[in-house]
């Protein structure tokens, strides 16, 4: 649409629109990486955690499904074949020399072999695994309730978080590799469905899913459920561990409370 002066109005409007849109997007990207704005956005997590904790009773259970619902193609994610030397040594002889160490702010630090853990009372649950990416898979897990172990070692009163140290180094092309770790608050650590699983779908836990032992936290997202667990520690605060945000993905911007 050209008027008498040869002015291309439609072209002009289009350019204004494209320029405006580009500036807006660039502005949003700038905000996304600016400190003050991230701090503001991150505050929503406190509101989410407080609200969910208020709504969620300590005994509210994640849904348990039937055998028929189990995913035939449960998707392994994150590390699926750790190449860390100490892990390869352990897996070479089927984790016979592996021991789970539980310490930190506890009365009696203890160690368990796989056989020791299998001898403890177990819980089996068929639950839905919700990945932060959006997909879900259903699997059957058998393991020891975390609370059983915490009761045996006896938490000191100042213990507020349970930290899980893993064997795998998760490769991150940008940030460089780092050992996986995670942490839970006591309400989730002591929940009945929070177990350390050594079996999946009736079989010994496969390497892709975290052999020999992985955490299940059924009321949160998949990245909370540390695989290849080596050591558990009770702490008062996780600020001085690694990136200080309480987990591998938390140090990379994800929420510590992964209830949504």
């Amino acid at each position: 649409m050209r008027d008498k002066q040869g002015f291309d109005r439609r072209g002009f409007l289009k350019r204004v629109f494209v320029l405006g849109g580009t500036l807006l997007l660039a502005g949003c990207d700038q905000l996304s990486s600016s400190d003050w704005f991230r701090r503001m956005l991150f505050r929503a997590e406190t509101l989410t955690r407080t609200t969910q904790r208020a709504i969620l009773g300590p005994n509210d259970m994640a849904r348990e499904y039937t055998e028929a619902d189990i995913s035939p193609d449960f998707k392994p994610n994150g590390s699926i074949d750790p190449q860390d030397e100490d892990y390869l040594a352990l897996s070479a002889d089927s984790f016979k020399n592996w021991k789970l160490k539980v310490g930190g702010l506890v009365e009696r630090p203890m160690e368990w072999s796989l056989a020791d853990l299998r001898a403890l009372p177990s819980r089996t649950q068929i639950t839905r695994h919700d990945c932060v990416e959006g997909w879900s898979c259903i699997g059957k897990w058998k393991g020891v309730p975390l609370k059983t172990l915490l009761d045996q070692v006896g938490l000191k009163p100042e213990a507020r978080y349970i930290v899980f140290y893993c064997a795998d180094t998760l490769d991150q092309t940008l940030a460089g590799g780092a050992k996986y770790y995670e942490s839970l608050g006591l309400p989730d650590a002591e929940h009945a469905q929070t177990i350390l699983a050594y079996e999946m779908n009736g079989q010994t836990l496969p390497v892709a899913h975290g052999a020999p032992l992985r955490l299940r936290v059924e009321r949160q997202l998949g990245y909370k459920m540390a695989k290849y667990v080596m050591r558990i520690e009770a702490v008062a605060d996780y600020a001085d561990i690694d990136g200080g945000k309480g987990g591998f993905w938390e140090d990379r911007g994800y929420e510590w409370y992964a209830g949504i």
């Binding site: 956005l41 969910q52 709504i55 919700d130 879900s136």
Partner: protein, 280 residues
């Protein structure tokens, strides 16, 4: 009743159309929905496929976007809907990021942030989700107590004459005079549908994706028939919101953009007098 000038000819006059609370919540909504749609597409891009049921049936998605296999030399974007594939290179499945064709669900210009960053997308999404819900509750509380909500419910008489209203809209003839003082039947249906049905459904379906909320309210999972169905419904509702916005913007543009914008900023709206039949 039209205003009559001294000469006895009906004139254009200003009425107070949108009350302050409606105007403020409208503009907060514009901000929230823009951010939610764009960060939502960022989150979708982390796994650009939708499913039905409790879990993901990876080999039978209802919708999937991605790069066609063996198209590394010259990437081809494919969008699959209910098993039917469409080439969507440049927009969906494969699009340009920093000048290069890469595999991604929605294109860079539509997502927040523009680069792939699920963690930051989630931070934007949940912050503005809280603001959106708070804003929506203020609007609903006000609408219920002020009678505004009733203005959105079509009368039986209006519904009977819906055919005529559609015909008038298609010819871009909009109500004048006293008729323009109230929402017409198509406006009522559109606003009522979006505000009372689609947006609450969208929020509920979003909450149903939360494993924490599902443990607290297991009935939500049943209401939607599974977490993956809830994710699909969340996506469909968001698509309906986009369609609503497109129609809304077109209507604002063709029915007097200045008058419409003024009424949503200052509240004042000019009503044109109804032409007398013999004036033609």
């Amino acid at each position: 009743m039209s205003a009559i000038s001294e000469e006895g000819v009906p004139t254009r006059r200003l009425i107070y159309r949108h009350r302050l609370v409606v105007r403020i919540t409208h503009w907060i909504n514009v901000l929230c929905i823009t951010v939610l749609l764009m960060s939502g597409m960022q989150i979708f891009n982390a796994h650009p496929a939708l499913y039905l049921g409790q879990r993901s049936h990876f080999d039978s998605p209802v919708l999937a976007m991605g790069q066609a296999p063996e198209s590394d030399e010259k990437p081809v974007g494919v969008t699959t809907i209910l098993g039917h594939g469409f080439t969507t290179t440049g927009v969906l499945g494969v699009s340009r990021e920093n000048g290069e064709l890469v595999e991604r669900g929605f294109p860079s210009w539509a997502t927040l942030p523009s680069y792939q960053d699920l963690a930051t997308g989630r931070r934007w999404h949940f912050f503005f989700a809280w603001l959106f819900v708070a804003n929506g509750l203020v609007y609903l509380a006000y609408s219920l107590t002020s009678g505004h909500l009733r203005e959105l419910v079509p009368s039986r008489d209006q519904l009977r004459h819906i055919g005529g209203s559609i015909w008038e809209h298609m010819r871009l003839h909009f109500p004048k005079g006293d008729e323009a003082r109230h929402y017409n039947v198509l406006q009522k249906l559109a606003y009522f549908g979006i505000v009372i049905i689609v947006l609450p459904l969208l929020v509920l379906a979003g909450l149903t994706m939360s494993p924490g909320i599902d443990a607290a309210f297991p009935w939500l999972v049943d209401l939607f028939g599974g977490r993956q169905t809830a994710r699909t419904i969340h996506f469909i509702c968001a698509t309906l919101v986009v369609l609503f916005i497109l129609v809304h913007l077109v209507m604002v543009l063709v029915s007097g953009v200045f008058n419409n914008l003024r009424s949503m900023i200052t509240g004042n709206y000019a009503i044109e007098p109804k032409e007398k039949p013999d004036a033609r």
